[in-house]
């Protein structure tokens, strides 16, 4: 297996929030989704996902609920809270500005 690309500090939160923006998801599914959507480029360190989830929950951006998983097991589903949604928007805008700026610099230089 290829070594997962190290995530830029702080981007894990953004990826988690974006992943669950459409529908509540459990931890495993979040990891899968990030991998699939990024065409296998971004490999989330699976264990590290959970402290991040707990922290986001603690901060009130996301909330958790136990529910039935697709294979009929009890799983903890995370969903975005209202302030979490706003936070995601502002963080996403920030990220886009930043990456566009970096892109500009890289093209010129």
């Amino acid at each position: 297996m290829s070594k997962p690309t190290d995530l830029v500090q702080g981007t894990l939160d953004l990826l988690i929030l974006k992943s669950i923006a459409l529908a509540p998801m459990h931890g495993w599914a979040i990891a899968q989704r990030i991998r699939q959507v990024s065409n296998e480029v971004l490999q989330v360190n699976q264990g590290a996902l959970y402290p991040a989830l707990h922290r986001l929950e603690q901060q009130g951006w996301i909330e958790a609920e136990w529910g039935e998983s697709e294979n009929n097991r009890r799983a903890k589903y995370y969903s975005l809270t209202k302030p979490g949604g706003k936070y995601l928007q502002s963080e996403q805008a920030n990220w886009e500005r930043l990456s566009a700026a970096i892109g500009l610099v890289l093209k010129k230089a």
């Binding site: 459990h26 931890g27 495993w28 990891a31 360190n45 699976q46 264990g47 590290a48 959970y50 402290p51 991040a52 707990h54 922290r55 929950e57 603690q58 901060q59 009130g60 136990w66 998983s69 294979n71 097991r73 009890r74 799983a75 903890k76 302030p83």
Partner: protein, 885 residues
């Protein structure tokens, strides 16, 4: 709302810890199972799938811990653990715990008790609405007239009220003593005559009944009275149907129209208020400053703005009425500040002393804690080696020191309930009834908050000091060492600095204590000019109805004096209006000297007026300077005479003999009779705050009989044993008369200076505690440092050092530390005693004997504290001390 959710989360993580832990387990297990299933679907064997999933996931336990951290559980748990650990370590060394908690409790408790007084006197002496906008207004004649003499002329007050826009309201009042008739007896009661708007300006309303109306301040319509809550309770047993009833005051009938709320007694200690009904002539008077005035500033008007307005006002009056108002300046002072007199400064001084005591206790305890920390160095090094950061160690120390200080606060609060009550009752009511807010002294929310804050401050200070002290622990070095560990140079320096600080505060406290006690001793001696020992004092006041004319009054007292003088063991019996040490100023009177016209009405000379029977001067052994004293020949029918004090004679007749000159009470052209001066007597200190050289005029009782007099007896044995004999004499003269204020003059004097005595006692206690704490501190640090040097001393001795030189070395260290402390403290002590001298009416003055004496005492104590450990170290056999580690 986010923070709310976050808190509820955090609390859930804390209190439902097990459930949350289980959920995390479940969550992670679900993840792993899904991952295993995923791998199994690609054809791996179950074993391989499991291995791969675990590898991808990483350290499960580590992530669980990170999850806990993310939920914020750890900080709480570690704090809890630290508190438990702190508690256990305190319990493990009960001696240390008890000593440190008690030391701190003493310091904190002293502060709490004194603060309860300052709190009541300074922060809410009155609970008037918007106290800061109330000001006292008076006319200053350029002479320092003191607190009791701030008056305004009625016409000026009226003009001030109607013409200046600075005040929302201005009211006038005047204290008056009344005789309240109850069942044939007349009791003295202090009241106040007030303008109709008095209560409006103060913004108070009666608990029942009504206030006075404008029309009721006319002479004739003014026989109405409002009672204080206290007098309603005490004198009328809280009678619920009292309103509308009548009482007799000074033989006039007054109907009760209102009762004021419980805490209202302005101006203290008034028990009733009647309308201030002035005649048109009195209203138009500009010459006599006869009324007190109180005003409320308009919102937005500052005190200095109002002062400027008053300045213009007095200048205008000066021009309009130069005859009466020349040289008068209308002045104002915030009511709150007027209270900052006398009693409060004493307690602020005590508060400062208590603060020093607490600092000293902290320094002392810091030394103890450091000494303990040196023993714990290995433990701390081990903790550091296991990964405890500075913050984590700091939290450990802080939780330990906060535990002591909070335990001390609990002890202090429990003790303060008793000590505050003791403090409140330690000063006789005769004094404290004049102090607004005194009855409000209690352990209230402010005092509790102050105590807890002080304790937290102490805990923080000690914790942070410990943290800094142990911050340079190097685990590598410390853990390799054997033995008890060593002390670095910096740490030694910190300990030494603490000793210096302790010596400093000890000297300051001792000097303050010494000066206060010296002041008290001096005060006890200020009552000069008479001999208080062996005097019995009894107050007598006759009911006006029965004793309606002078002849009856004179007759009663004549019989009383004759009877009292014939009691075996009574050498002299006499009457006087105001005996010394009564805590009441003499009545003062203006007087005119025949042939000496006063330049203007506002500059009439004034003097104290005393009325005395012939034997008074012999009773108190007041010396006769010139002429004669009164005799029985000075009767109601004979020529009017007066005796004056020496100070008055030398002020008004400096170059000639005062005898034979005539004076008149009041103004030159009044109808009062001329009094011929027949004698000059020695000056008497009336109250300790009065200057001894106040002019005083004595009139013979026979020529000016008064219903209320003080009977003074000079007895040959213990004066208190004559009370029942005197009671019989009074009963024979009139069975309806009650004896009041029975006391020996010695005790009266002791009571009158009780406040300074209490100060002296408290300061003395603070001083002794300071001395004890600092001696322990010096001893502790020196014996610790000598113990550390036992090895070195052994080597020196083995190499042939002279024990006397070694002794000098150690004593030199003691002297150096103490000396530095003293050098810093002496100028501080000088400055503080200067401040004290200005606070306490010249009772206290800087005294170099006291300063030098205590400096010497502290040096001797330091030498003693150094000598003991030094002797021990030198006495040890070098062989033993060399093995000592």
């Amino acid at each position: 709302m986010r923070w709310l959710q976050s808190i509820s989360h955090r609390l859930r993580s804390l209190y439902r810890k097990d459930a949350v832990e289980r959920e995390t387990d479940q969550e992670l297990r679900f993840h792993l199972e899904r991952q295993i299933a995923e791998h199994a679907a690609t054809g791996m064997s179950p074993e391989e799938a499991r291995r791969a999933a675990l590898l991808e996931f990483g350290g499960v336990e580590q992530f669980k811990e990170e999850c806990r951290e993310a939920r914020g559980v750890n900080r709480f748990e570690s704090l809890l653990a630290d508190l438990c650990y702190g508690f256990r370590s305190l319990r493990k060394s009960p001696g240390f715990t008890v000593v440190s908690v008690l030391t701190l409790a003493l310091g904190i408790g002293a502060n709490a008790a004194i603060f309860s007084v300052v709190n009541a006197l300074l922060l809410h002496p009155y609970n008037f609405h918007n106290l800061d906008s109330l000001v006292r207004v008076w006319e200053d004649r350029g002479i320092d007239e003191g607190y009791d003499e701030r008056y305004i002329a009625p016409a000026d007050a009226e003009e001030l009220r109607s013409t200046t826009g600075a005040f929302e309201g201005l009211t006038t009042y005047s204290m008056q003593s009344f005789g309240l008739r109850t069942k044939g007896d007349v009791q003295p009661i202090l009241g106040c005559r007030v303008s109709a708007n008095f209560f409006d300006v103060l913004a108070v309303i009666p608990v029942s009944g009504r206030l006075f109306g404008e029309a009721e301040q006319q002479p004739g319509a003014d026989q109405l009275v409002i009672l204080s809550y206290g007098s309603w309770q005490r004198r009328f047993a809280g009678d619920p149907r009292l309103l509308g009833k009548t009482i007799s005051l000074n033989s006039r009938i007054y109907s009760i129209v209102g009762i004021m709320p419980k805490d209202f007694d302005y101006p203290v200690p008034a028990e009733l208020w009647v309308p201030l009904a002035l005649t048109p002539a009195e209203k138009a008077d500009r010459a006599q400053l006869s009324l007190n005035a109180l005003a409320r500033l308009k919102p937005g008007v500052s005190v200095s703005q109002a002062a400027a307005v008053l300045n213009n006002f007095s200048r205008r009056l000066e021009q309009e009425y130069p005859k009466t108002n020349a040289g008068r300046a209308t002045t104002l002072l915030q009511l709150r500040k007027e209270l900052y007199m006398f009693t409060l400064p004493l307690f602020i001084l005590l508060q400062a002393a208590a603060g020093f005591l607490l600092l000293l206790a902290c320094a002392n305890l810091a030394n103890l804690v450091f000494a303990r920390m040196i023993g714990r160095q290995r433990e701390i090094a081990l903790r550091a080696a296991l990964g405890a950061g500075r913050g984590r160690l700091g939290q450990l120390f802080l939780s330990e020191t906060l535990l002591y200080s909070l335990a001390a606060a609990v002890v202090a609060i429990v003790a303060s309930f008793a000590s505050v009550r003791a403090l409140r009752t330690s000063i006789p009511v005769g004094w404290t009834k004049w102090v607004p807010g005194w009855d409000g002294i209690r352990v209230d929310g402010n005092v509790l908050a102050f105590t807890i804050l002080a304790a937290l401050g102490v805990g923080l200070f000690l914790g942070i000091a410990t943290m800094l002290h142990t911050s340079r622990v190097e685990p590598n070095k410390t853990l390799k060492e054997t033995g008890t560990g060593t002390v670095t140079r910096t740490k030694r320096r910190v300990c030494n600095a603490l000793v210096v600080v302790q010596v400093m505060f000890a000297l300051i406290l001792l000097v303050c204590a010494g000066l206060t006690i010296q002041g008290f001793v001096r005060l006890a001696k200020v009552y000069q000019g008479f001999e208080p020992a062996g005097i019995l004092k009894i107050e007598i006041s006759l009911p006006q109805k029965v004793y309606a004319d002078d002849a009856k009054i004179a007759n009663f007292y004549q019989q009383l004096l004759r009877g009292a003088a014939s009691v075996p063991g009574v050498r002299h019996a006499s009457l006087v209006t105001n005996p010394p040490a009564s805590n009441v100023d003499d009545e003062t009177t203006f007087f005119a000297v025949e042939g000496q016209a006063a330049p203007n009405a506002s500059e009439l000379p004034s003097a104290d007026l005393q009325i005395a029977s012939p034997d008074f001067f012999d009773t108190l052994k007041i010396s006769s300077v010139a002429g004669r004293v009164f005799s029985d020949a000075d009767s109601a029918d004979s020529a009017r005479v007066a005796v004056i004090g020496h100070a008055m004679a030398s002020r008004f007749w400096a170059k000639e003999d005062a005898l034979g000159h005539r004076i008149k009470l009041g103004v030159q052209n009044s109808t009062e009779p001329w009094l011929t001066i027949v004698g000059v007597v020695g000056d008497v200190r009336q109250n300790w705050w009065n200057p001894v050289t106040r002019p005083v005029i004595y009139k013979p009782f026979a020529q000016a009989p008064q219903r209320s007099m003080n009977l003074l007896l000079r007895t040959t044995s213990n004066p208190a044993s004559y009370v029942s004999a005197v009671r019989d004499v009074v009963r024979q003269a009139d069975p309806a008369i009650a004896l009041r204020g029975v006391n020996t003059l010695d005790e009266e004097i002791a009571d009158s200076i009780a406040i300074v005595r209490i100060m002296g006692i408290l300061m003395g206690i603070f001083g002794l505690v300071a001395l004890a704490l600092s001696s322990i501190g010096v001893y502790g640090v020196l014996s610790e440092s000598v113990a550390q040097r036992t090895h070195e001393i052994g080597i020196r001795l083995a190499l042939g050092a002279n024990p006397r030189d070694l002794m000098k070395l150690i004593l030199g260290q003691a002297l150096k530390l103490t000396g530095i402390g003293l050098v810093i403290a002496v100028p501080c002590a000088v400055a503080i005693s200067r401040a004290m001298a200005s606070l306490i009416f010249g009772v206290v003055s800087l005294d170099f004997t006291i300063l030098g004496g205590f400096t010497l005492l502290l040096l001797v104590v330091a030498l003693g504290a150094g000598y003991l450990p030094a002797r021990r170290a030198i006495g040890v056999d070098p062989m033993v001390s060399l093995r000592y580690e």
